[in-house]
Symmetry: C2
Subunit: 766 residues, 2 copies
């Protein structure tokens, strides 16, 4: 069985689309006028050589972003988007240039700053000086996207079995597979350029370094057919076209080494091939391939469309499956390069040649259509929908070119000019990034608190591994220091005994009392008889009857005036229905505040209020809700820090009890509550009180944390009057939580971002 | 309503028998011949002034044991029994004298060693020299039992409400209640002596210090009527009978102070009253009463019968309820003392006088019978049965005096002599204590591991509080150092992240792999499709298919030879039925060993084998099981370190599969297994291998503990051959447990006690 057939065998289908996916891309930093930034790489990212996600490429102003290998395109892209957002947030009056072709460059190329390294890394600086000299600084400013991709190990094992390659070792078979894919990728790469090219133009300042530019882009600023300046003869390529030996991996590798040995390349990595094979440095085994021909897509924030990546992935599988017409020799290599350059200039109007050097039997467009059909046949029936969606997207681009990203870019540049269009896009994308600052795209299934920790890890260059994703269990590592964290706040800083104390309300209370802190002091009962016999003890007081362990408030009753023994009995029965241990406590009137403490220091104080709107004298309740819900922090289903206010039965009923309905127009400044409960999950607001509460309550909270010896806790305190200094009788500690959420303090409805993700990572020694 | 009536009101019934109960007792240490020990207080108990449970009284040889206040008589008594057991275990060739009257004393009283104190506590030594001079050393060697008792606060509140004492403060009412109880207790104390007295004789060596002894105990060594030498005129009392003012608590307290001021007593505590009221040193409020008239009961190991304590408790409630015939003035006090001394000498043959100084209308025995009826009326219908059992016990002692402890003691002494009888009892009790060394009596509802920790706390003088008894959550405190511990091994030494790692099999494996330790490496699946598609990967291997989180082994399948895809599918389905995450791992052949580690050091290695018997060539299987089950370590229902082997259907069936039945007589040394599973809970044996395993495995275990940064863990390792040094392929770590049991290492079926309770407390800094 051929590998192409083996790929389609049922046993391959489960693994066909699996693998590892990593992305790298560059963006030139520009000032708010679209001029190349002359500032150093932002200090906040620390050591550019140590940072796993954010570094620089050729120029100090050419920021490079790198994702780790991820399990899906969605995650890799999300990770890249998050790096992009984090970088954007941390630029100071600068923007990320969304185009592969550089912005306005200084006329004098020598004013383009080379990447700066300390004296320990002189070789890196040296290499950049060599590149500047050999290719020119302006050409080195072209940016792009690289896609790292490996096939699933299970797929490779299966292919080897099914295609009867048992005479090869696993390593040899793997080389065979990746070489096959690489050769066809090289042959047919013009298809990718036709579909994905997105540099139809360049700034005028670029023309000085490529005399051929007018040929590539006939009009001054933008050609009508040009697809990819970057992939054209004016693009990023070696000065000489090298011929390589593609017969096998060892031969290929040898032929590249030969170029270095002959002094034609200073280093293997100077070979600007559209694809590279990457190996494990220890074993020499091929680990993955790196496709380097994607232009940044300036129509989308992160510069990469998911459709493009899914297409590229299918293209590589297709390349693996496709029978090769002839050995990929020098002549074939020349034809393939020529096809690339032609297509980069003229797209579907190019003269594409086949393996024999004859014009293609179909038109280029026809060939691309056929390609799209062929990859559609590769997609398994139960594949994730985004693969088929990608194929459909590019088919529709063929039918309606005006919808294709390339044509949207071209039109934008034609209408506004190269610099203004890309600058406007950069500004739009900046706004979008700033609205996403609570989210880790691609890892949206994690809790928001964990997403915030990982965003901060990206900023600080802390590598992480999701040890158990469904449990939000991560390992963070930087400079050989590893911390294991579950759900953002379960860390190595807390000791187990303390956690167990907090888990147990009874024990928490006893330990706080030992330190003379005020808790609701009542009775603890393990049978109804004793609890009931104490009725007189609680008579005529406001009390709370509750099970020792409560879930979602089940079995809790508040008796505002405990005067009827039957009501008391009913409350006890409800509590005992939930737990064999029941607490009867005085009910303490006042507002409840959540204190977030790290290392005995209060880092945030929050109070929650029920879903509400404030009137302006002209909008109705339903209109005010709609307006309030437009806040990007409000979403549905716990994917955002706040939830949208609903206009449902519960809200309707609650308004009715106030004699109101959704059409009522509240007076200016009038506050209308739509719910009784203050849960964020039902549209409640979180209000930051960190700077507004009397400091004595912070001292109380800190003393409580010390009493339990807890490192990280969310302490709930009832306070009747936050301006009055604390004394023994005007507060009560209700609960201490060992797994408090952090996002509510970072993105309150009202108040400052308390940056608990930063503070936690500081505390953990990162 | 009178207090007596209020006690019987329904609202009082729930609280009537509740309160706090504490015990104190002394035992003279003797050598194996019954002579007073001349050795110092055992060093193992440390500072005698700081130890909360074990100290000395008058003499260095007079060991005093003290329990904290407990919630029930059962617990107080159990605690005392445990102190007794722990002390017994830690005496070196000495015994605890089970009698209140001292053993053979040196003829020269000055050879009785006074308690030794360092120079800082000169006053304590001084006081003992004063006592020796005033009362004689021999008299001070009389030992006894003190019972500390308080009524429940809810009862007191209720009594005050029901008896319309609202004009009094709570504190005043409490004084009123305890004074009432004290006066009647003083009046009727002869009843307690009649029922509970247990010193019918004294050693001849004692006669030198009490010239009246022949009158008290007419025969040389034991009278026929004598009840309590200790409560007699030869007993432990002041040289003068003092008259006190019992009108109210302040007046009473003043009259005692007056004696001190007048120089008649060196200190309030020199007043040897049968009852004392104890107060809170800060508030002056009465906290409890201390009844001091119990003789040690030499017919029972701890010297205290539960029946006696329940009787005494009812006596104090009865004293509170009983209407007082007249003010307890000087005349009444004289009559009450006279009744005591008479009764101590002649029991029911005494001339007991009533309040008027006239002989009792009934015989003393009749009066006691009436008393027993009256207290029976006090006991609420739903009271714990042991109160009624106590009353019945003493009624039966009246009917059949030969069954009464007093008469058993008298008979023993008459038959064997005072010294030989008590010495024999001491030796019997020693054997019993040594068999209880895994148990904390009174706290038997705690897990055995926690009981072992608390026994060791008793030995070391570490105070403890049960913060949440059902959770085995305790606070241990010594010298201001507090540790919170749940289930013996959940401590402050472990950090939370490590616990979470151990809780999660997937994470444990990943972290161990990061440290190059061998774990079963397989696949982790979250859907059936992928797991099934990997069939070929595991084909023809021995594998285990299991849910990520297992409970009691549910959903685990071992496929010894994974060749049939259908079997593999079935195993996967069973695993996915239990969890959405499933692991497929190679099955590793070998025996499983439990390594217990503290601070990276292996402290115990254990292997478990199924229930079995070893033949002797003459007994049948059922007989061998019966013999093996006699081991005091074997019990039923997890109250002992090992479980009794059953002769049930499961065992019968398993024997049948071997062609055997219970009547089969195994050959000498033949081992017959009665179960397939090796659980201790079904009669399995635990075998200690700590000293038998190749040290390289201990190194592996230690490396694993370091990898997870765990302080206390139970690591399960499969090892095919424990003599062969460990390499990467001949072991596998299966699991690390964050809550390993310790008792299995302390009381294995075969091997040494690894004293993990001691090692854990060492590690916790005690």
């Amino acid at each position: 069985m051929q590998i192409g057939e083996a790929l389609l065998a049922p046993s391959s289908q489960t693994w066909l689309l699996e693998g590892k996916f990593g992305l790298e891309k560059e963006h030139v930093r520009v000032d708010l006028e679209g001029k190349l930034a002359q500032t150093p790489h932002p200090h906040i990212f620390g050591d550019k050589l140590a940072h796993p996600f954010v570094t620089v490429d050729f120029s100090e102003s050419q920021l490079e972003m790198i994702t780790p290998p991820m399990d899906s395109i969605h995650e890799a892209l999300g990770f890249m988007e998050t790096i992009h957002d984090v970088v954007t947030e941390n630029l100071d009056n600068e923007l990320l240039w969304p185009q592969s072709m550089p912005p306005a460059l200084p006329e004098d190329g020598s004013q383009i700053p080379l990447a700066q390294f300390d004296s320990e890394h002189r070789a890196l600086a040296e290499y950049r000086r060599f590149l500047a000299q050999t290719y020119g600084r302006k050409k080195q400013m072209i940016s792009g996207v690289h896609v790292n991709l490996s096939f699933s190990e299970s797929l490779l094992e299966n292919l080897q079995r099914e295609s009867n390659h048992s005479q090869l070792t696993q390593t040899e078979f793997k080389s065979h597979v990746y070489m096959t894919a690489m050769r066809n990728m090289m042959r047919y790469r013009w298809i990718m350029i036709a579909l994905l090219g997105n540099t139809p133009a360049a700034d005028n300042s670029y023309s000085t370094i490529c005399p051929d530019l007018p040929e590539v882009v006939p009009q001054t600023c933008c050609g009508t057919k040009s697809v990819s300046v970057r992939a054209s003869i004016c693009g990023y390529r070696n000065n000489e076209e090298f011929t390589l030996n593609y017969a096998s991996w060892p031969q290929f590798h040898r032929s590249v080494r030969d170029l270095v040995d002959a002094g034609k390349l200073i280093h293997e990595k100077e070979l600007y091939s559209p694809i590279r094979l990457k190996t494990n440095l220890q074993t020499g085994e091929i680990t993955h391939l790196e496709v380097r021909l994607l232009d940044l897509d300036p129509t989308t924030k992160s510069g990469i469309r998911p459709e493009s990546l899914h297409l590229l992935h299918l293209f590589m599988l297709w390349s693996l499956a496709k029978e090769e017409p002839a050995p990929f020799d020098a002549a074939q290599q020349r034809i393939a390069s020529q096809n690339q350059y032609h297509c980069a200039c003229c797209g579907y109007d190019s003269k594409i040649l086949d393996a024999n050097g004859s014009p293609f039997p179909h038109s280029p467009k026809g060939a691309v259509r056929k390609f799209l059909q062929e990859i559609a046949n590769l997609v398994p029936d139960d594949a994730p929908n985004n693969y088929n969606r990608s194929i459909k997207f590019f088919e529709s681009c063929l039918d309606n070119p005006e919808n294709a990203p390339l044509e949207i870019t071209r039109k934008g540049i034609q209408n506004q000019g190269f610099i203004p269009y890309n600058l406007q896009q950069a500004k739009n994308f900046q706004v979008n990034s700033l609205h996403q600052n609570f989210r880790f795209s691609g890892l949206e299934d994690l809790e928001l608190s964990t997403q915030l920790i990982l965003r901060e890890a990206v900023l600080r260059g802390i590598s992480f591994e999701l040890l158990d994703r469904s449990e939000n269990f991560v390992a963070l590592t930087k400079n050989k220091h590893t911390e294991y964290i579950q759900q953002a706040t379960k860390t190595s800083k807390d000791n187990y005994a303390t956690i167990l104390m907090m888990e147990n309300k009874l024990v928490t209370k006893k330990v706080l009392q030992r330190s003379n802190l005020t808790v609701p002091v009542g009775g603890h009962y393990t049978d109804l008889k004793h609890a009931l016999a104490d009725f007189n003890r609680y008579k005529s007081q406001a009390i709370v009857v509750k099970p020792k362990s409560t879930n979602f408030g089940l079995g809790i009753t508040i008796l505002k005036q405990n005067s009827d023994e039957n009501h008391y009995l009913t409350a006890l029965k409800m509590a005992f229905a939930e737990d064999s241990s029941v607490l009867v406590e005085p009910f303490i009137a006042g507002r409840e505040f959540r204190f977030f403490l790290i290392d005995n220091k209060v880092e945030g104080v929050l109070h929650r209020v029920p879903a509400n709107v404030m009137g302006d004298g002209s909008h109705s309740i339903s209109e005010l809700v709609r307006i309030k819900n437009q806040d990007p922090l409000r979403g549905k289903g716990y994917v955002t820090p706040l939830e949208k206010i609903q206009l449902g039965d519960a809200e309707k009923l609650f308004l009715e009890t106030q004699g109101l309905d959704f059409n009522y127009t509240p007076k200016n400044q009038e506050i209308i509550y739509l719910r009784e409960n203050s849960n964020i999950s039902t549209g409640g607001d979180s209000l930051d009180f960190t700077d507004d509460i009397h400091p004595s309550y912070k001292q109380i909270a800190s003393d409580a944390a010390k009493a339990l010896n807890v490192a990280i806790t969310g302490l709930d305190m009832i306070i009747p009057n936050i301006s009055e200094p604390a004394n023994d009788d005007n507060y009560a500690i209700i609960e201490m939580n060992f797994n408090p959420a952090i996002h509510i303090h970072c993105f309150p409805f009202k108040g400052s971002n308390r940056q608990l993700n930063k503070k936690l990572l500081d505390y953990l020694g990162f």
